[in-house]
């Protein structure tokens, strides 16, 4: 008997220890009322509560930035996901820049630009821009960059638009497009339009692409672990305020935030919505946020059974309760989304009528499509792990109430991307960050690109998009885009769910981060004032 008691005792003691050390003392869970629907008050789409630097402050020399994605390439034209864009923005210069405050284009290394017919654009370069290896940036480098673009992995969309880049002289060049595109200047603000150094790259393809002309230089890196940047002291613009900046890959979200709290890192990207309350409540930490333009949407395969039937698509549109997704999955940290346009995207129609959650109406559409209690409609929903899987589970439960059986099929990122691009899926949950220029929505609603997960192909929409992109007159262009959004809504091509708010948890006194809704944040001028 004694041995039996010893066994039970040991188990209880161990369980107690586990419970003890993991139950937290900060916020007592029981008081936390389930749904924290805090509307993001002042943190709306401002660039975070910026503490503007006043005079000579003692800036923290070395800043460590913990992020959830790993950096695996130097070449700005080889990669385009968020984590790489942080590094590209800091190390390279793009011809133009976009001011999030004024929503206006601004000169960067290009001082003036002009076009008559939106086909040929002419640009003037600054003459005091130098690469990190000391060579001066000239039009030859620009031509080299954009001639190389078509056969790279990420800059190919830009490269395919350009027919020819002509060098006039060292500091003047012209770009001629295959067809008129009003959005070119906007495209030249994206990291994929970064200018790389011709000599360095021709000499050593792998290392050479790391030479930029931006305020920061690449110091050392270990792919999949960290990338250390050091200040470029002879930068043509405003010098960086810190000396070194290290981007560190920390996959486990909760561990990343803990490193911030223990002071091992200074900035933590994308903390878990669950922990936002804690960060706000912890002194020494600050929460900076921005309303992103990355739309999470429910796409239905337009090309094959069962979702070629419009009734079923509309049944889904009214059967899914987007607000509940916002409250449960995003814990309120998201904005409702009306259509497949970013809220700051050219041509966004704030007035499009949203799909109100209306189970009865959904049931009517289901009946119209020939489904009922006796003959229930069921389909497979492809999702990837994490947030989208949580949304999937919730949608599964919601649609159950209107008699629809959803089977969740889980993929890893590569698997999901392939099966949805090849159209093997019936429906899927996907996301896409919308840029500022109007034509960006083309990749979602017109055939030909990997993001059109509904394989939506409506000649009327295609025609309107082509007209708009070539239309110089703003009012007409906006009209076209509004019309497209209305057609999409009536046809039920997609069910847009929400714009997720983005968050950075930072050490107190952090500032200078220029937040972009498309999450290409510019951290060149980041600083931390030592408290």
């Amino acid at each position: 008997m004694k041995r039996f008691l010893s066994l039970v005792l040991c188990l209880l003691m161990f369980a107690g220890m586990l419970a003890g050390c993991s139950s937290n003392t900060d916020t007592d869970p029981s008081t936390d009322d389930g749904t924290t629907t805090t509307t993001p008050d002042n943190e709306n789409n401002s660039t975070g509560d910026e503490t503007t630097p006043s005079g000579e402050e003692n800036y923290k020399k070395d800043i460590i930035f913990g992020l959830g994605g790993k950096i695996v390439a130097l070449d700005p034209q080889a990669n385009s996901n968020t984590q790489h864009n942080y590094y590209f923005r800091m190390v390279f210069d793009t011809p133009l820049d976009f001011n999030n405050e004024t929503q206006e284009l601004e000169p960067n290394i290009v001082t003036e630009w002009s076009t008559e017919d939106a086909v040929t654009y002419s640009f003037t370069l600054r003459d005091d821009v130098y690469f990190h290896n000391g060579e001066q940036l000239t039009a030859d480098d620009v031509k080299f960059s954009y001639d190389r673009a078509p056969d790279t992995d990420s800059a190919s969309t830009l490269g395919d638009l350009i027919k020819e880049t002509r060098v006039i002289d060292d500091f003047h060049f012209e770009i001629e497009l295959h067809s008129a595109n009003v959005d070119l200047p906007y495209l030249l603000t994206l990291p994929t339009a970064s200018i790389i150094n011709r000599e360095a790259v021709t000499e050593n393809e792998l290392e050479g692409t790391g030479i930029g002309s931006g305020p920061w230089m690449v110091d050392s890196y270990e792919f999949g672990d960290y990338m250390k940047l050091v200040r470029n002291d002879n930068f043509w613009g405003e010098k960086a305020k810190a000396e070194t900046f290290t981007l560190r890959y920390m996959p486990e979200t909760s561990a990343r935030l803990i490193s911030l709290e223990t002071g091992e890192i200074d900035i933590c990207a994308d903390p878990d919505p669950l922990d936002l309350e804690r960060v706000r409540g912890t002194d020494g930490l600050e929460l900076q946020s921005y309303v992103g333009t990355s739309i999470t949407y429910f796409a239905m395969n337009y090309k094959k059974e069962p979702f070629n039937d419009q009734n079923l698509r509309l049944a889904m549109a009214y059967g899914i309760n987007a607000q509940e997704l916002i409250d449960v999955v995003r814990l309120g940290e998201a904005q409702p989304c009306l259509s497949l346009w970013g809220w700051n995207q050219y041509g966004y129609n704030g007035g499009t009528t949203p799909y109100e959650y209306d189970p009865e109406k959904a049931k009517e559409y289901l009946a119209a499509a020939g489904y009922s209690e006796s003959n229930p409609f069921s389909f497979k929903l492809s999702v990837s792990a994490g947030e989208r899987k949580s949304c999937g589970e919730l949608i599964q439960a919601q649609l159950k109430e209107i008699g629809v059986n959803v089977e969740i099929v889980e993929f890893d990122t590569a698997g999901l991307s392939t099966s949805t691009t090849n159209g093997e899926h019936e429906a899927c949950l996907y996301g896409c960050g919308m840029n500022i220029f109007g034509d960006d929505s083309r990749r979602l609603i017109c055939p030909g690109t990997g993001v059109n997960k509904s394989h939506y192909d409506n000649p009327e929409v295609n025609e309107l998009m082509d007209l708009a992109v070539a239309e110089l007159d703003d009012t007409k262009r906006t009209e076209y885009y509004h019309e497209v959004q209305q057609i999409l809504h009536d046809d039920g091509a997609y069910v847009p769910l929400y714009f997720a708010n983005g968050f950075f948890a930072v050490k107190e006194g952090t500032g200078g981060i220029d937040y972009y809704p498309t999450s290409h944040h510019d951290m060149s001028n980041v600083y931390i004032i030592e408290q």
Partner: protein, 326 residues
């Protein structure tokens, strides 16, 4: 002895070929390929085709494999689809971290298991014996990523004694090593206990006592050296578990090791990197297993004699002698 070592190394070649074949073909079954990960969302179908061509993914599987193997034989493990960096460089960058972590967790595991095993063998049958066995089993019964998180919460956050992640300095090694180490304790403690129980019964201990040797020395010198033999065999088999544990622990503690490299590469269908890394780890483990066998011979003279006299061919007899009591 050298004939035996040579034979084991030669035997390694077919195993490595087999492993590369196995991983390469299984990985190809996975839906999607590196281009689906690399290509940005707005890449058109032509872009994707072009990228596939660049990486040679459009060729049939067999040709790709043969091409890969012909490079491999010449020592070139190819480049990662993702970063273009040679597989060998990335592996070499990460290998020391996992090696360090593996060694540290072995130290933790052996450091905890040996005393616990001896302690429970000496008190065979009492409740102390049971409690220590349960403690050892606990290590095996707790999913180690959960343990890792709890340790981090307690020691890094609440007490602030240790860093919560990263691979800078000795302090950041402690928590991951404990997480992996405890996982391996169970088998090691059990083996120590049963081999000590066997040895304690042996006559030569009685001879030692009859010689007037003190009890402490009888256990520590005479008994332990004999008991070490099955323990070393088990440590050999446990090494596989280290990398298994590392895969999880490295992502929890942001430890830039090979385990995480393989998981990340797997998710991004980076076949050369995955195959290369697995081949290297397999080669590393086989060499370490061979070292364990040699160490085994070093400790047990009966085996050493067997190597010297017997022609290499008899190696599986000797395997038979190592009780496979894993």
């Amino acid at each position: 002895m050298y004939r035996y070592v040579l034979k084991r190394l030669v035997l390694l070649i077919p195993v490595l070929l087999g492993v590369s074949f196995l991983v390469y073909f299984i990985l190809d079954l996975a839906p999607g390929d590196a281009v689906d990960v690399l290509a940005p969302d707005d890449a058109t179908q032509e872009d994707r085709e072009r990228m596939r061509e660049e990486l040679g993914l459009n060729r049939p599987l067999v040709i790709r494999y043969l091409d890969y193997m012909s490079d491999l034989v010449r020592g070139d493990m190819g480049e990662s689809y993702l970063s273009g960096q040679p597989v060998w460089d990335s592996f070499i960058e990460k290998a020391p971290n996992t090696l360090l972590l593996g060694f540290a967790s072995l130290v933790v595991s052996v450091g905890l298991s040996l005393p616990l095993g001896i302690y429970s063998a000496n008190r065979h049958g009492t409740w102390k014996d049971n409690v220590s066995m349960v403690l050892a089993l606990l290590g095996l019964s707790i999913p180690n990523f959960w343990l890792g998180l709890l340790l981090m919460l307690l020691f890094a956050l609440r007490l602030g004694w240790l860093p919560s992640g990263g691979a800078d300095g000795f302090a950041s090694l402690i928590l991951p090593a404990i997480t992996i180490g405890t996982g391996m304790m169970a088998t090691l403690t059990r083996t120590t206990r049963s081999s000590m129980l066997d040895v304690i019964r042996q006559d030569y201990l009685r001879t030692a006592r009859a010689k007037g040797v003190s009890e402490r020395v009888v256990i520590r010198k005479h008994a332990l050296k004999n008991a070490l033999i099955p323990i070393i065999t088990i440590i050999g088999t446990q090494l596989g578990g280290i990398l298994g544990g590392a895969v999880l622990t490295e992502s929890v503690f942001s430890w830039p090791g090979v385990g995480r490299l393989i998981v990340d590469s797997l998710n991004s269908r980076d076949t050369p990197m995955v195959t290369g890394a697995i081949i290297m780890t397999t080669m590393f483990f086989s060499v370490v297993l061979l070292l364990v066998d040699l160490l085994y011979a070093f400790v047990d003279p009966r085996i050493k004699a067997q190597y010297a006299t017997k022609k290499g061919g008899k190696s599986n007899d000797n395997k038979q002698k190592q009780k496979a009591s894993a």
